[in-house]
């Protein structure tokens, strides 16, 4: 029941990726083995990077597990940074304007696509 436990959970994802897979398959069941408060449980369950950052969880771990849980691709760093900035992607990497706009669009399309898939999945499970 502390930031240490959350760090342990995240570190173990990196140390043994089968743990990350087990978490993705059954997050509630996976997290039952750890002593977490309700808020901590929610933070990890939803991978709320910003909340974990505020809580004092090492940013090294947040950045390490994000691609493990969400797929490692060219957009990963930008997606991570966007979530760390309340949904607004800053141009911290000083990319040329056209490139920055392209990445923002690609993220928007990708997230829209993921959202649509989730909606279809939800609809299917309800019917």
């Amino acid at each position: 029941m502390s930031v240490n436990t959350i760090e342990k959970i995240l570190w173990e994802f990196g140390d043994d990726p089968t743990r990350a897979k087990a978490f993705l398959k059954n997050p509630d069941g996976y997290l039952e083995q750890f002593q977490l408060t309700e808020d901590e449980f929610k933070m990890v369950r939803t991978m709320d990077l910003k909340a974990m950052d505020k809580y004092g969880v090492s940013n090294l771990l947040g950045m390490m597990v994000w691609p493990l849980l969400n797929g490692n691709n060219q957009l990963m760093a930008f997606d991570y940074l966007k979530r760390m900035n309340h949904g607004e992607l800053p141009n911290n990497f000083k990319l040329p304007g056209w490139q920055f706009r392209m990445i923002k669009t690609a993220l928007w399309v990708r997230n829209g696509w993921v959202g649509a898939l989730c909606f279809v999945g939800l609809k299917k499970s309800l019917t």
Binding site: K8, M84, F93
Partner: protein, 276 residues
């Protein structure tokens, strides 16, 4: 006895090993030229053993065990991180000297954590890749200090560690010619909301302190100030303090400084040229 004859500090940003081309070509070229200058100097100085000081990034060690100071005395390989794009391979250590430094430390109030077999992360792998690997017959002794993961080692202890390592080398009954290489970036926010920002003003202040060997000024920096002004990655000046502690008098040769946002760090490489 062995001689400490060279001292350097280098960036260790992982993108140097994995995708250097994401940054501006001119800046990348400057950094690579600086690495080449270090290789040239290592050759001129006839270095055969390099003690490389890095810090773990929650890669090698976990919440169950976080060593404050660690020395690798046996088999070394690396890199730990697959995403660096380099096959894990053996790295030549100098186990006799490493063991001597370990024992010397035990006798002088340094209760190291000891790695009998160590897979290094990017912090010591990048300098290995860009300097040591490209030279003939240079062995590497890895040393790690807690400069990346909380709780951090006290900066003063890093200076003392450097002093002790220099004494241990001088006490070694071999004829090795040794260099110490501190590693790490200047301002950088690793995994934080400001990741990618570089505080050039802080970087130049830090370089200036290093140039003057103003260790007192560096020890006066609070962690709160460094975190706020230069990010969590800037705590790596502790690694540099180890190298600075090992060399009492030097003239700084600034080989390059580049604020490289795509590499998420203020990037610098220096040589501490031994003064009489």
């Amino acid at each position: 006895m062995a001689n400490l004859v060279g001292a350097f500090c280098t960036a260790h940003v992982p993108l140097i090993a994995s995708r250097p081309g994401v940054a501006d070509k001119k800046q990348v070229d400057h950094v690579m030229e600086a690495f080449a200058k270090i290789r040239t100097r290592m050759t001129e100085l006839e270095i055969d053993t390099a003690i490389v000081v890095g810090d773990d990034h929650y890669t090698m060690f976990g919440p169950h065990c976080l060593p404050r100071i660690l020395i690798g005395i046996g088999d070394v390989d690396g890199p730990h991180e697959e995403w660096l794009g380099h096959e894990r391979a053996p790295i030549a250590n100098n186990p006799a000297m490493a063991e001597h430094i370990m024992e010397y430390g035990f006798d002088h109030d340094f209760d190291w954590a000891v790695a009998k077999a160590l897979t290094i992360d990017h912090s010591t792998f990048v300098p290995y890749l860009k300097v040591i690997k490209e030279l003939d017959n240079v062995k590497m002794i890895p040393v790690y200090v807690a400069a990346g993961v909380m709780p951090l080692i006290k900066p003063k202890r890093c200076v003392q560690l450097g002093e002790m390592i220099a004494d241990a080398v001088a006490d070694y009954p071999g004829d090795e010619r040794v260099a110490i290489i501190g590693t790490g970036g200047l301002s950088h926010w690793v995994g934080a909301a400001d990741m990618g920002k570089v505080n050039e003003e802080f970087d130049h202040e830090m370089i200036d302190m290093i140039k003057r060997r103003d260790i007192d000024a560096m020890l006066a920096l609070t962690d709160e100030y460094v975190l706020e002004t230069a990010g969590n990655g800037a705590f790596e000046y502790r690694n540099w303090l180890v190298a600075m502690g090992a060399v009492k008098n030097y003239e700084l040769d600034l080989l390059c400084y580049e604020p490289i946002s795509p590499w998420v760090t203020g990037t610098t490489l220096v040589e501490f040229k031994f003064a009489a």
